[in-house]
Amino acid sequence: MINVMQLQRIWAMFNARNKEFFRDRAAFGWNFAFPFLIIVGFGIIFGGETLSTFKVGIFPQKGVSVIFSETTIPQHFKNNSAVSFVAISTLEEGLDKIHYHKIDLLIDGRSSENRYWVNDSSPKSYITEQMYKAALQPDDTVAVDRNIINGEQVRYIDWLFPGIMAMNMMFSALWGVGYVVVRYRKNGALKRLKATPLTAFEYLSAQMISRIFLLMFTFTIVWIGADLIFDLKIQGSMLLFFLTFFLGGLSLCSIGLFLAARGTSEEFTSGALNFISWPMMFLSEVWFSLEGAPAWVQNISWVFPLTHMLKAARKVMNEGVGFTDIQLECGLMILTTIIFLTLAASLFSWNE
């Protein structure tokens, strides 16, 4: 049980770290500027579209890859190097994926009427459709059955926003905690603290709470700014959306603390943080869906807490689900936090 003295010490370190953060103006400004610039950049300048390949879902398919011999897909379209194909088992699954921008076009592979679905809010969906139609009717004689997906469409910016915020949170949590702790150890600031009754658990808790506070503060400010510009649509509960980022932030901070538990080499820590953060960013669907990627790649993505944070956040923001639909992701994030925080506390060294 935590006593008053322990709380007082955690509070003292929490306050000290916050003051450091807010007074380091360059770092402070960058924490806001970075996500904001990316959102504005991709949201406005490029219209939110960043991918050069187009994903087409084909249904019904039994396996993990499309068997073209069972489909009516024209040869020209199959050979288009700008298009990759994703095997989808049912129409419902396909509609779900195109709705949430995981694929750009959905085609009924058995249909003799060339039945397909597009997402009207997606420029990529429009381009893919044009390529499909061009392959179908070079002489303008083939009829098509064009369908637009039903319901309110998820804009790309609404799909992108959680990803950008999660990515920023990941960098801020890993570097803002891990790198800082190693720097403090190297310059002797941690050694000075060891000469006090402060325990490793108290120190790490204070660092974690401080970083979470700063992350959520940054998140709120950037969200307000982005909402004013893009009128972001959160289908589900705002509180639940906040919770997913809170739990995600905790799990990422705990990984940062684990990586910084020992050592005084900023270069090594920098390498280790890069080694973790870059694969996490690319495999957690921040920028693009892993739909159609090899199974082993998708399995690896499950290891990363960023994947679960993003999955849960997008479910709440884009699909409007409740807590029961994201409890698995929340549970995994809590588990990650417990494991890495325990490891960090037991391995933590104040000195070299």
Binding site: K19, R23, G188, K191, A195, T196
Partner: protein, 303 residues
């Protein structure tokens, strides 16, 4: 079950027995034993690399010992040890963006019984820099802040590791006054230094450390009288040159001067005066801790 007697002030507040510290195959502290009485200043004097700082950090519980026993108030160091000691490290750092006042506040909150801020500020002369940020302090100001942090919990036992290193003479003198004041308040001080002047001025007991061992221990006066009984009387060669063969003195020539070694200065002066030697330009040097170290190791402290 071992019956440990209750601590009283006549006992040693700190007792170190057969302390040894190794880093891999390298031995930093070979075998060190000492004890410190309450209300005194105990100094570890020795050249750089002698093992003073390692000894201090093991005793402070900053790094673990390879072997040996350390007792604080007659018992193994426990959770209360950190509440009752203050440490000024030789090399350490603070949070750059906090002010001096905020730093003191932060450290006050880490202890159960902190010192009042005003007393701390007055004692360490921090008034003029209270609102300065830590990264804007000069070397002397940083040392004073570090000393204040070492005193923030009203410690019973204060460890000072090379407290005046890098300070100008005025700042050093001021720091010594603060340390004297701490001692005057009944606190116990354990310090390391490679300055014999500092050791002589501040320490009641000095342990001379060399190559991870204590080679001599005692008060400055005891060490000098035990190991260096000889004074040196220096005279210009011109005033004594012709009479040297006839004098019963131990001397050596150094360019244009003669160094006369004497265990009894009064007796030697009587011999010189009897020989009608001009003593106007005479210089008498008493031995100091530097001489003690030279006598014990064959090297100078600063080598």
């Amino acid at each position: 079950m071992i019956d440990i007697p209750a601590y009283n002030k006549k006992m040693s507040i700190l007792s170190v027995q057969n302390l040894r510290k190794k880093y891999g195959n390298s031995v930093a502290v070979e075998d060190i034993s000492f004890s410190v009485r309450q209300g005194t200043c105990y100094g570890l004097l020795g050249p750089n690399g002698a093992g003073k700082t390692t000894t201090m950090e093991v005793v402070e519980d900053i790094i673990p010992a390879t072997s040996g026993t350390i007792l604080y108030k007659g018992r193994a160091r426990d959770i209360s040890f950190r509440e009752e000691i203050g440490i000024q490290f030789q090399h350490t750092s603070l949070l750059n963006f906090l002010s001096v006042k905020e730093t003191l506040h932060c450290y006050q909150k880490l202890f159960k019984h902190p010192e009042e801020l005003d007393r701390l500020v007055a004692r360490c002369n921090l008034d003029s820099i209270l609102h300065k940020r830590n990264n804007q302090l000069s070397g002397g100001q940083q040392q004073r802040l570090m000393l204040a942090l070492a005193l923030v919990n009203k410690p019973e036992l204060v460890f000072l590791d090379e407290p005046s290193t890098g300070l100008d003479p005025q700042s050093r003198r001021y720091l010594w006054e603060i340390v004297e004041d701490i001692k005057g308040n009944g606190k116990t001080i354990v310090m390391t230094t490679h300055s014999m002047e500092e050791a002589e001025f501040l320490c009641d007991t000095i342990a001379i450390v060399d190559q991870g061992c204590i080679i001599a221990e005692g008060s400055p006066a005891q060490l000098i009288t035990t190991y260096c009984k000889t004074n040196t009387i220096t005279l210009p060669l011109s005033v004594i040159e012709n009479k040297l063969p006839a004098l019963d003195i131990d001397f050596s020539l150094h360019g244009n001067s003669v160094a006369v070694r004497s265990r009894n200065v009064e007796e030697t002066l009587r011999i010189l005066m009897a020989a009608n030697i001009e003593l106007k330009e005479m210089v008498v040097d008493s031995p100091d801790l530097e001489d003690v170290f030279l006598y014990l190791t064959g090297r100078k402290l600063r080598d």
